[in-house]
């Protein structure tokens, strides 16, 4: 995975609450056996009509948001199905950070593993960022993971919290499996204990 860099980019406003993973990537696109290429189908049913034409007033179809790298979204973003196709599609489109008052658990975890930083902010901050995002393409927002800040286009800075381990992995582009494999001896020890104490498992 690539190392996560400080990002200054266009933020698209999506104030809708409960944006679920079925909306982010409808199930017809889950039939792939690959991770790549899902970006064109991101938000497919909201973005295109049945004939495949773009729906003009959907935010990511508007000229000023076509190159958005940040989403500012309503509460409970990413709820529903566990499909990792959702962050795959977002990442493939070019989204690198999502800001909301809350995220569904599985989506939150999946995002980190795909180079997307989900940022939880209180409602009043999200309101400010949403307003900033509504200004369009000239209003660039900055996300600094190292210092854990989001800065609006007019220089207002907000701190955010992030799990230290997840931050470390994202900043350094570390692969979880590789890290865990270094602990193989702990797993061996655990399995030996398990075999003695709970052999049925």
């Amino acid at each position: 995975m690539e190392k996560y860099q400080t990002l200054t980019g266009i933020a698209a406003p999506m104030p809708l609450v409960n944006i679920d993973t079925d909306m982010i990537i409808p199930k017809v696109f889950l039939k792939t056996i690959k991770r790549s290429g899902l970006g064109v189908n991101l938000f497919d049913e909201m973005r295109y009509d049945r004939q495949g034409n773009e729906i003009a007033d959907f935010v990511l179809n508007k000229p000023q948001y076509r190159n958005a790298e940040i989403l500012v979204a309503g509460d409970n973003f990413g709820c529903g199905s566990s499909r990792e196709h959702a962050p795959w599609a977002l990442a493939d489109f070019g989204i690198k950070a999502i800001i909301s008052t809350s995220f569904a658990d599985i989506f939150y975890n999946n995002s980190f593993k795909n180079g997307i930083l989900p940022i939880v902010m209180p409602q009043d901050v999200v309101d400010v960022l949403m307003k900033d995002a509504e200004k369009g393409e000239n209003a660039r927002m900055t996300v600094d993971l190292e210092n854990q800040t989001v800065t609006t286009s007019d220089g207002q800075e907000f701190k955010f919290e992030v799990d230290s381990f997840k931050k470390h992995c994202l900043l350094n582009g570390l692969d979880d499996i590789g890290l865990t494999m270094e602990k193989a001896s702990h797993i061996d020890t655990y399995e030996a204990k398990l075999a003695a104490e709970r052999p049925w498992a």
């Binding site: 690959k34 569904a104 799990d163 797993i187 049925w200």
Partner: protein, 469 residues
């Protein structure tokens, strides 16, 4: 003396392989369930890195999401090219990596969350994961069970562990008795109506109270299944005699002395007196009515006797969401829920595709016919549920009433196979998600219990099942 623990604390502690200074743990996984949609990229990752499955004997795979449920599927051909490729990929991955496999042709095949318990893979006190959010179902056994993403599927395949931080404890207590016509599905939907779809975020829920204890194992699975719709990482119920009874004799449950040892351990899995919960929700069993959803989020729940709400009834971002939902659902505020006409009924899914669910629906349908023009289907949760329902005569009741009697799979729960709603069609469904497009593009879903679904099939509109009892 150690501090009192919740059942979640106990299971967690028993599975910690190692812990970092910041509380990040490596958690051991006892059972890993795999299906065709969320696993191909994980197996591909293993191959690319030259890794093996660490514990193939703890890994079970079954195709369910994409498989056709038509009776002619025995021919083995899946018409949809991409679905076929996914199922074939699972066939191959299961073989190459040496994991337990229930192919489409096996009578034991079915929805992964129904097959796991049925075969005795899921047992109390275990950690169970699957690349599917409804893994919460297995919590009914007093197991810590939750969904994971595909990267985590790969992580578990390679290491049999997950990197996790502990969630907070939440208690949902349903006191007293349920009224007639009220089922496990009404409990779980009512809880979500109460807490909202984000109410459980960051928590593991323990469901308890008399009404929960009184439920069968099937009912408990229905309740835990939808913990995820309430945002929780997992939902669980302390095991008891009913749990042990259900597990006993299952193909992969322990036998003989091992069984005795297991039961003795399982009996220690309860929440200690005085253990701390970060959040507590209490609902009186007698206050729960048969419910339906009116909108496009599982939290849009109301008793069947209510009317469709207006967007102004809500606050904040929900006003806009409710407006959008009413528009999508083609409903007007103030309309009686029982006046909503439906054209499709779906009975099945990992929420309500077990034998008890089919019995409840058949009980209402016995000797009756579904409304003219209604499309109604029953999709049993597994081949074994299907066989049992045939033996009990339930299949004949469904068929005589005018239902299609299908083969096992996820089917119209998520409509990845050809079982889908057409644009504008309206379905009373026993599944778990009423999201936009979930059951087909522009299809409209009302979530209900199996008995309520059967009642709606007869009258052609959402119906209070109590009128038919």
């Amino acid at each position: 003396m150690t501090a009192p623990k919740t059942i979640y604390d106990k299971i967690w502690d028993a599975h910690v392989v190692s812990e970092d200074a910041d509380g990040t743990c490596l958690l051991y996984i006892d059972r890993h369930l795999v299906h065709e949609v969320t696993s191909p990229q994980a197996f591909e990752g293993l191959r690319m890195a030259g890794r093996k499955v660490r514990a193939p004997e703890k890994t079970i795979a079954v195709p369910d999401h994409n498989v056709p449920t038509t009776l002619d599927r025995a021919s083995g051909v899946i018409d949809n090219e991409e679905s076929r490729i996914q199922v074939e990929a699972l066939d191959k991955n299961a073989k190459d990596f040496g994991i337990h496999y229930y192919p489409v042709s096996d009578v034991r095949q079915g929805i992964v969350h129904i097959v796991g318990p049925e075969q005795g893979w899921t047992l109390p006190g275990m950690t169970v994961v699957c690349g599917d959010s409804h893994t919460a179902t297995h919590g009914a056994f007093g197991a810590l069970a939750h969904g994971i993403g595909t990267s985590e599927v790969e992580h578990v395949l390679a290491t049999q562990t997950l990197i996790q931080k502990k969630s907070k404890n939440m208690k949902v207590e349903i006191t007293g008795k349920l009224r007639p016509g009220v089922t496990a599905k009404d409990i779980t939907l009512s809880v979500i109506g109460h807490t909202g779809t984000g109410g459980g975020t960051g928590y593991v829920i323990e469901y308890c109270g008399e009404a929960i204890r009184d439920l069968s194992m099937e009912g408990r699975m229905t309740v835990c299944n939808m913990a995820i719709e309430g945002g929780a990482r997992a939902g669980l119920i302390a095991p008891d005699e009913k749990t042990f009874e259900y597990c006993k004799g299952r193909p992969h449950a322990p036998k003989g002395a091992a069984w005795e040892a297991a039961v003795a351990y399982w009996k220690t899995l309860f929440t200690d007196e005085g253990a701390h919960f970060d959040k507590v929700v209490t609902i009186k069993g007698e206050d729960i009515a048969p419910v339906v959803t009116w909108g496009t989020s599982p939290e849009d729940v109301l008793p069947i006797t209510a009317t469709v709400p207006a967007p102004e009834d809500f606050k904040g971002g929900k006003v806009e969401a409710a407006k959008r939902a009413l528009d999508y659902m083609g409903l007007t505020a103030g309309q009686k829920l029982t006046d909503i006409e439906i054209d499709t009924v779906f009975i099945g899914s990992c929420t309500n595709g077990r034998i008890e669910d089919l019995r409840a629906a058949a009980e209402i349908l016995k000797g009756k016919k579904i409304k003219d023009g209604m499309r109604a289907m029953v999709v049993p949760g597994s081949g074994l549920v299907r066989a049992q329902a045939e033996e009990e005569g339930l299949a004949d009741i469904f068929k005589d009433a005018g239902f299609e009697w299908r083969m096992a799979g996820c089917s119209m729960c998520l409509a990845m196979n050809p079982d889908q709603l057409a644009e504008g069609e309206r379905c009373a469904s026993t599944s778990n998600r009423n999201f936009e497009g979930r059951q087909g593009y522009k299809g409209r879903t009302h979530l209900v219990s199996p008995a309520m679904a059967a009642a709606a099939a007869i009258t052609g509109r959402l119906t209070d099942v109590r009128e038919m009892m």
